[in-house]
Amino acid sequence: MKLNLQIDPIACTGHGLCADLLPELIELDEWGYPIIGGAVPPDLAAHARRAVNACPALALRLVRTPDQLAARHALAASETRGG
């Protein structure tokens, strides 16, 4: 079980609060949109939750990814343009 941050890129409008609250894991690109740097370690979980709650666009999510979902994600990842 891993704790991961996910951004809904459509909802995100680049406020940048998340990078202020969680600079350990989130940096902003040159246009102010967040880039996430990997899974959330346990000691940052509380900070991550705070960043999620602070997002004005409700675009940041904290998700647990259990292993049995791996196959589904592999299928989804390999589909793009209605192959």
Partner: protein
């Protein structure tokens, strides 16, 4: 590679061969005099000869219109009456054994996707993707225009295989002639009582990203034809929240033949690790541009030869505008399949091959494509809204030999941060194309960056505009 700076023997009007009607003619934005998309492509000639394996394209060269249901049945035999009764398991096994992969761009195993849909809860939905928004591709339009009943058979078989009670066919709103032709074919089938379920034809707004599968689903659900955030993917929850199979029309046409003749027959064609046949659209420095059906796994060089490759081409764009540029020498012997091209970092995509004519500037072509792709986003995700135009600017400065600062290192940095951060793969595809241009035309890129552009780039846009860039579809019309 270094492109020749010699005088260019290539003439643009040779590219607009008579096989290229439809979108190709629309490529020249400056010639806004007519809408060729609304013309019937009567004079698209199809060829046979060494290397061509006519299955889907059987008898195309003898017809200048869509095959009627009667002609279709005579050509391929009836869709086995018991195919429906044999049940979905047998059909899925046959499609899996055939090794059919998606022909829309992703090359995903078709049976695997169908099984995921069939395993979903409740009745499923089938969506046939005939949007063909890739400007360099003609194959889906050609297939629907000549052999609509193969696609419609495929929809019917796929619906049986996944347990669907509802089927849709999505076409571009800019191609009225194609919609009329397909509707006539559907009317024939209704009269003959050929199908268990009807097929609803839809005309969607024509944007590059509108053919993405989540965009089709979103539109069919009453929204705009823009990609949506995933998960859920359509196979989990799609049209009407039901498990939804979205397949390219060529993929479905192959399904129709596998249902008739079986997996072993399908695999009788195919070489170099490929299975069956595939439709390709070949253009550029070839004497006979057009749509060719070849055995899957045919080498890139052999496909180009089929279309009459001119000797003096050194680079090729494979896959389409989401594709990649390569040195022809490096890639000529590789099979034109996902597995075959993977070592070179390429993919067959929608089956497009464009040979860059000698004496033309690959960077200029890449810059034009990039500008087009940047304009074709759904304007939903920051990295795409801001990142793609920024890269398009960098590439344009480079192509023109008028760099501001260091566009090469700016681009390398931007390539690294933009991919994978959109809701759909639009930014990823655009970045892949731009990055491959910098790799393939590396020597030129460095010369251009030192303000020494090639002669081709100097001669201006008209001379170097070879790949079609469609006129933008009515701005803001996504519904």
């Amino acid at each position: 590679m270094s492109h020749a700076h010699a005088r260019d023997e290539y003439r643009r009007d040779q590219y607009r061969g008579d096989q290229y009607r439809g979108d190709q003619d629309r490529g020249d934005k400056d010639r806004g005099d007519q809408d060729p998309d609304d013309r019937d492509p009567d004079d698209r000639r199809r060829r046979t000869g060494a290397g061509v394996t006519p299955r889907l394209t059987m008898d195309w060269q003898r017809a200048d219109r869509a095959a009627t249901l009667r002609e279709h049945s005579a050509r391929f035999g009836p869709l086995r009456a018991n195919a429906a009764r044999r049940g979905n398991r047998d059909l899925l096994d046959q499609i899996a054994a055939a090794g059919l992969t998606g022909r829309g761009g992703a090359s995903f195993p078709t049976a695997k996707k169908m099984r995921a849909v069939a395993a979903g809860r409740g009745p499923a939905v089938v969506v046939a993707n005939g949007m063909e928004s890739e400007p360099a591709s003609e194959k889906d339009q050609a297939l629907l225009a000549r052999a609509p009943h193969l696609v419609l058979d495929g929809i019917s078989v796929a619906a049986t295989a996944v347990g669907a009670a509802e089927a849709h066919l999505c076409l571009s709103r800019t191609r009225g002639w194609l919609v009329d032709s397909v509707l006539a074919a559907i009317a024939e089938r209704e009269q003959a009582g050929a199908d268990r379920i009807g097929v609803a034809v839809h005309e969607l707004p024509h944007h590059y990203v509108s053919s993405e599968e989540t965009a089709l689903v979103h539109w069919l659900n009453g929204g705009e034809a823009k990609p949506t955030s995933t998960p859920p993917r359509p196979f989990e929850r799609g049209v009407g929240k039901r498990p939804t199979l979205v397949d390219n029309v060529e993929t479905l046409a192959h399904v129709a033949l596998i249902a008739r003749y079986g997996a072993a027959w399908f695999r009788e064609a195919g070489t170099g690790g490929g299975a069956g046949t595939m439709l390709t659209t070949v253009a550029g420095a070839v004497s006979r541009p057009g749509v060719y059906e070849v055995e899957a796994g045919t080498s890139v060089g052999d496909v180009l030869e089929l279309a009459g490759l001119r000797e003096r081409s050194e680079a090729v764009l494979i896959g389409g505008y989401f594709g990649t540029w390569h040195d022809l020498e490096v890639i000529a012997d590789l099979p034109f399949t996902a597995a075959g091209l993977r070592p070179a970092g390429g993919s067959p995509g929608a089956g497009v091959l464009f040979a860059l004519p000698a004496g033309t500037c690959g960077l200029a072509e890449a810059a034009r494509i990039m500008r087009y792709l940047a304009s074709q986003g759904a304007q939903q995700c920051g990295p795409c809204i801001f990142g793609l135009p920024a890269i398009a600017d960098d590439l344009a400065q480079l192509a023109a030999g008028r760099p501001e600062g260091d566009p090469l290192s700016r681009m390398q940095r931007r390539f690294g941060v933009i991919s994978g951060r959109g809701a759909c793969r639009h930014p990823d595809g655009a970045v892949r194309m731009a990055a491959s241009a910098i790799r393939t035309f590396g020597a030129d890129a460095h010369a251009h960056a030192r303000r020494r552009p090639c002669l081709a780039a100097h001669r201006g846009r008209q001379q170097t505009a070879l790949l079609p860039v469609p006129r933008p579809f009515a701005e803001g019309d996504w519904r």
